[in-house]
Symmetry: C2
Subunit: 482 residues, 2 copies
């Protein structure tokens, strides 16, 4: 008999999980609390009309592995490439824009609209004969032992209580976000270690319209960053030539701004060029007041499953702060990894889920920690000379000694499908080596530059530095391979 899979949550992760299940011939039912976001009368998910995402290798790979040959390309058609960061700072009173490539070999992050991605996935789901899509339904109870769940039909609004009915299932997949109801009920059946933390940063989104001539207001192929340590402003391009911008600031910082009302002055001082290049004074003030100041939550838990009857994926399992751009990519990767285990043990789902939890727990916890740590990189480190030197050296090693398998942590996270936990192990190993390289390089650079400056030109000095790096790096290669 065909097994019945219930997916709770029709966001990107839930939709992709439903597609994976449908491709495998399961009887799939998807229940979503909210209305269908493709319906133009539906209010947007949040206050603004776009939440911007950075799609990268893990997400794309998971789309490609779905078994639907044109899905990934349909999604990719609606993305906009960001080749690097553009750092906006004032140096000695002067406004400087500093581009930094994401990848020495030219690979890019892909900016895209969450609603667009979600709509595409829902369209594909709707076309499958064995999928039932149900909106406006709230999960109110699950018995994972008896494999029975209860849903309420929210006829009028999300808040209003409606009729309750019972649905049985063989396997429930919870992809219902950070405040997951599936997880809440799962915790009654399994002793779950669970941790949630609100970090001391709130975020406020700003919509940046196209320029009067219809084009982008600032160079589009970048993730723009105004790094100011305790605060940060970013802007991501959209395919419709708008930007989606976000201010990150501490709670007390927002309170002070609220009290003083000096938002424009604050921006002028910290985020050069935002006013008026991106937004007018009036619009900045208006959006600052109108748009919510929202908290950021970080969630870790384990195990993700109970027996053979339920599992949680995506934000429900590991909501993370947005600073590594991996939240959704990790969620989509969950789907790929989960179904690899389900395919591996077609007659023993319990074992598949055991192994899924075992493999995925350290990976999710790693990217969660990396995301927390990456605020510092985005808001502070990117403007420091030592960071730039280090980045440059790593890129050279990566480009010119490919045999060493050298790659930055960022590129492994963003442009590969290596397990997050292994990325971190590799990065720790490389960091040890690199710290040595940077130290020796600095010393030899000073020496070499001094020597060449007396006899030759700048170009020669540069080559001298690079040659010494290569020699050191080749020696380091042995360490890496050990």
């Amino acid at each position: 008999m065909t097994q019945k899979v219930i997916v709770v949550g029709a966001g990107p992760v839930g939709s992709l999980a439903a597609l994976y299940a449908a491709v495998r011939g399961f009887e799939v039912e998807v229940y979503e609390l909210r209305a269908d976001l493709r319906d133009p009368s539906t209010k947007p998910l949040n206050f603004s009309n776009s939440i911007n995402l950075a799609l990268s290798e893990r997400g794309i790979h998971s789309l490609r592995q779905s078994g639907l040959p044109d899905l990934a390309d349909a999604v990719l058609a609606e993305t906009f490439p960001m080749h690097g960061r553009m750092i906006h700072v004032r140096k000695n009173g002067e406004y400087v824009r500093q581009p930094q490539k994401y990848d020495a070999r030219g690979r890019s992050l892909l900016a895209m609209d969450r609603t667009g991605l979600n709509s595409t996935l829902l369209d594909y789901l709707e076309a499958m004969p064995n999928v039932k899509l149900v909106f406006n339904h709230k999960l109110v109870g699950v018995d994972f032992q008896k494999k029975v769940s209860w849903f309420e039909h929210r006829t009028k609004s999300i808040e209003e209580q409606g009729d309750e009915f019972e649905i049985s299932f063989d396997f429930m997949i919870g992809a219902d976000g950070a405040h997951s109801a599936v997880r809440y009920h799962l915790m009654k059946f399994v002793p779950m270690s669970f941790q949630q933390e609100y970090i001391d940063k709130l975020w406020c989104q700003f919509h940046v319209p196209p320029a009067p001539n219809g084009d982008f207001r600032i160079p589009p192929n970048y993730l723009h960053i105004w790094p100011q340590d305790e605060s940060m402003f970013i802007a991501l391009p959209n395919i419709d030539k708008t930007f989606t911008s976000t201010l990150f600031l501490t709670r007390s910082g927002f309170e002070q701004l609220d009290a003083s009302g000096k938002v424009v002055e604050y921006f002028d001082q910290r985020f050069p060029g935002v006013v008026p290049d991106l937004i007018t004074e009036d619009d900045l003030r208006k959006q600052y007041t109108a748009n919510q100041h929202l908290p950021l939550i970080s969630i870790k838990c384990t195990p993700y499953h109970y027996g053979d009857s339920g599992v949680i994926l995506g934000d429900a399992a590991h909501a993370m702060v947005p600073f590594y751009g991996q939240g959704m990519n990790a969620g989509l990767e969950d789907v790929r990894v989960l179904f690899e285990f389900l395919d591996k043990y077609p007659t023993d789902r319990s074992k598949a889920l055991d192994e899924y939890t075992m493999e995925r727990t350290p990976d999710a916890q790693t990217i969660n920690d990396l995301a927390l740590g990456n605020y510092r990189e985005m808001a502070s480190d990117v403007k420091k000379p030592l960071y730039l030197l280090r980045k440059w050296i790593e890129e050279q090693l990566y480009l010119y000694i490919p045999s060493a398998g050298w790659a930055t942590q960022y590129s492994r996270v963003t442009f590969s499908n290596m397990r997050y936990s292994e990325v971190q192990q590799a990065a720790h190993k490389q960091a040890k080596i690199l710290n040595g390289v940077v130290g020796i390089t600095l010393a030899s650079a000073i020496g070499t530059a001094f020597w060449f400056a007396r006899s030759g030109g700048v170009q020669q000095a540069k080559m001298g530095i690079f040659r010494s790096i290569c020699v050191i790096a080749q020696k380091m290669q042995r360490l890496l391979e050990s």
Copy 2:
């Protein structure tokens, strides 16, 4: 107008909080999910008929500060003193019992029955004219902004749904345990950092009846410990000459025992004397199978409150593992500290709760961590010579150089009302010093003993060691005072 305080949970912490509120003239309503435990037809809280607690200074002090002059004495009348630990081990194949005093000045832990303590508190509550005690009521919703809550009357059983009704309040105190419903609803109103962890130890309780002659089966004034590193068996005396015993073991350890069925053999090998001194082979097998193997949860969160309308106390705020014997003591202390802040700001409860959260968070998190760490002390360290030497040295410093204010972490936690966070700071400072002392002592002890052994006797060697410790300690005193 009189303010209305709702207390959710009528366990020891909730009952004491209700008493504190009632003494201050509030209109108090207490809602408890379970039936009245004083009713003889009520099933016990858990499978066994007694959960044993170690009452210590913080708990007693909080009872005394209630404003009810005879409350603490009424509770103390039903306690049984434990002057120290009795360690049961096999040394060179021989069964040895090793008493270790808790306190160099003779202070004791007080063993008591949770139900007894709870009953006493409920009796006092019932005698107050401004308290309404309501059992069999489940909290199903709270709006902390509108100060309205919803309860269900569970007429037939805890599981069965009953009539729902609405109750408004001015201030809600949630003392409804580790799986607190108040906390669950509070989290919807305040961004709460929250962490729960199931440790890899399960516990199983055993009831030890009196001996045939009606007396205790083993010396009663001790907390008996059979420390076996990854497992541990303990026994606490009850006033009715029984013992309440607990086996702590890893999940996989329990599974292996379940599979092999060799419970008696396991006990014979690890816990010398338990069979037959405390329990017969048959009874051990029977109780091991009949009594549940239960998990241990550790919970941290913050903040504990929302605005001026709600706060959580006790296990709801900081459930901890039982290895420091402080869970209930910390919960009772919560009540004292909370009302000190409420008394300090009689017209600004919001400020009082802010300060309560600020002060109590590091204290609760400290004792939570100490409790996690204390498993190792109870199950391993207590049988190690270096631990005993260290304990002896600390006791000497404590007894003979009182001016240094030396006290062990254990005695500050157990026999004082010093803030937990300050206890830990003091302990860290002392540990640094003591590590030095122990190191020097060991060196000088070897030297001195060697010297005296040639010329004098054992007694002289011992005095020599002690004298050198005193000299070192007096020097260390200056460090302590710095």
